[in-house]
């Protein structure tokens, strides 16, 4: 019976990872669509929202089932707690990817999008994606070194968002025709900052799963 339990725990974990990387890909594809003004890719990302939501529901159900059947304790209990919190965070990350795809589609502007790069959005996106990826890898392997600097990395993201906000205002004042686009890009920066926060939430839960100690990353 216990073997079956550990098998189910392993399945839950691989399900959470699958969903995590699925959400991460939604975000990275949305950022690529933004950079390359690729409405086809943006539409595709938007449509993945349904699958994301289904994965979330199935994993949540599975976690509840394991709790009800086996009443896990100690590390097993912490692992399930971590799985449940992680799927909530990765679902948010995937949905921010969908929101960024929505920005691409709403602007639907064939002109070159130099403002995207001028505002350092791709750079910010890369940093955030690496934070999400490291949090998921830490969940996969239990290797806490991957999330050891999340607090500092999150500070960098916060500072970057602030800079982008200031720069955006400058562009808008220079040329009011950029206001709509700039406002949308500032939203993107805000979404990315939230994704970094969610990667910190995952990191907190992974730390708890591995050590039993609750920490706050801020």
């Amino acid at each position: 019976m216990k073997d079956r339990f550990h098998e189910e725990m392993a399945n839950l974990k691989s399900g959470v990872l699958d969903m995590g990387f699925f959400a991460e890909r939604m975000l990275s594809d949305a950022l690529r669509a933004l950079k390359e003004n690729d409405c086809g890719l943006a539409t595709d990302v938007k449509e993945r929202k349904v699958a994301l939501s289904e994965k979330n529901d199935a994993l949540e159900e599975e976690a509840y089932r394991i709790i009800a059947l086996y009443q896990p304790v100690a590390r097993d209990m912490r692992e399930i707690a971590c799985a449940l919190k992680t799927i909530t965070s990765v679902e948010r990350i995937g949905r921010y990817g969908k929101d960024i795809a929505g920005v691409v589609l709403s602007l639907n502007d064939p002109r070159p999008h130099d403002l995207v790069s001028a505002l350092s959005l791709p750079h910010m996106g890369d940093l955030v994606l690496s934070m999400v990826d490291d949090a998921l890898r830490a969940y996969e392997t239990g290797d806490l070194s991957r999330i050891a600097h999340h607090s500092r990395r999150d500070d960098v993201i916060d500072a970057l968002r602030h800079t982008i906000f200031r720069e955006g205002i400058t562009y808008m004042m220079e040329d009011p025709r950029t206001i709509t686009r700039c406002m949308n890009y500032l939203m993107v920066a805000r979404y990315l900052e939230r994704c970094a926060d969610h990667s910190c939430k995952i990191a907190e839960k992974v730390h708890y799963m591995v050590t039993g100690e609750k920490i706050e990353i801020r």
């Binding site: 100690a74 912490r78 050590t211």
Partner: protein, 253 residues
């Protein structure tokens, strides 16, 4: 020693012949709390609680080193009287073992042995003990019936009432629910929660969920040693010792 410690083991070791069953156990049992002992079969949990009221003395070839203190007094001192000790530290066993007598007589037996003769006084003790054991309402109209007519769960609560009748301070329970169905188990568990208002309870259990539900402190034993002792929430959420972790998560045992 902590102020609320009522019972303590200090480097307690026990041998059955050449076999060492307990190895330098040191622990403090707090008053008015439930302390659970868990661990795989043969790890020494029952042996340990039997040391607390000197139930091992009668076994041939049994040798004890170290100290067990009750209110700071070593229970193995020469002047210590095991009969008095067992009145103050009562015990409930795995299988309900009522005497083949009436319900009333089962509860009145202990006080009688200890010299209570007055019928009214005995009536009071019987009612109070049965109430505390959450059995009064179920048996008050048939106190003269045989204890054997009761269900298993009722018999176990009768045994608890019998223990309470002699006004103990500590109640030791050796797997009190392992012979009971889930409903009777739930009743005994609820009772344990009430008993700790007035008594110190030490329970040996194979059922880890039960330890998690009823106890304030949990000790994990393995091969005669106390591996980890701490607050139950800590033991079940993040045990400090890997052996504890492996046992409670079902990776061995």
């Amino acid at each position: 020693m902590n102020a609320d410690t009522i019972l303590a083991a200090d480097r307690l070791s026990l041998w059955y012949g050449d076999t060492r069953a307990l190895e330098e156990i040191t622990m403090e049992v707090p008053d008015r709390r439930v302390t659970a002992l868990i661990g795989p079969s043969g790890c020494g949990k029952s042996t340990l609680i039997r040391c607390f009221n000197r139930m091992n003395d009668i076994l041939p070839g049994c040798r004890i080193e170290g100290r067990v203190t009750f209110h700071g007094q070593n229970v193995y001192d020469n002047g210590s009287d095991p009969v008095t000790l067992r009145r103050r530290i009562g015990m409930v066993f795995q299988k309900p073992n009522p005497f083949p007598k009436s319900i009333y007589e089962n509860v009145a037996y202990g006080p009688r042995v200890h010299g209570v003769r007055d019928r009214k006084e005995l009536d009071r003790i019987v009612e109070r003990s049965l109430r505390r054991a959450a059995l009064w309402d179920e048996v008050k109209d048939r106190l003269s019936h045989s204890a054997m007519s009761l269900s298993g769960g009722q018999q176990q609560r009768l045994c608890i009432a019998r223990t309470l009748a002699v006004e103990p301070e500590v109640i030791l329970m050796d797997e009190p629910c392992s012979a009971l169905d889930p409903i009777a188990t739930a009743k005994v568990e609820a009772l344990i929660g009430e008993l700790k208002e007035q008594y110190c309870v030490v329970i040996v259990t194979h059922n880890m969920q039960q330890a998690g539900r009823v106890s304030d402190y949990t000790g994990f034993m393995y091969l005669g040693r106390l591996i980890e002792f701490g607050e139950t929430t800590q033991i079940f959420e993040s045990p400090a010792n890997e052996l504890t972790e492996n046992y409670i998560t079902g990776r061995f045992g």
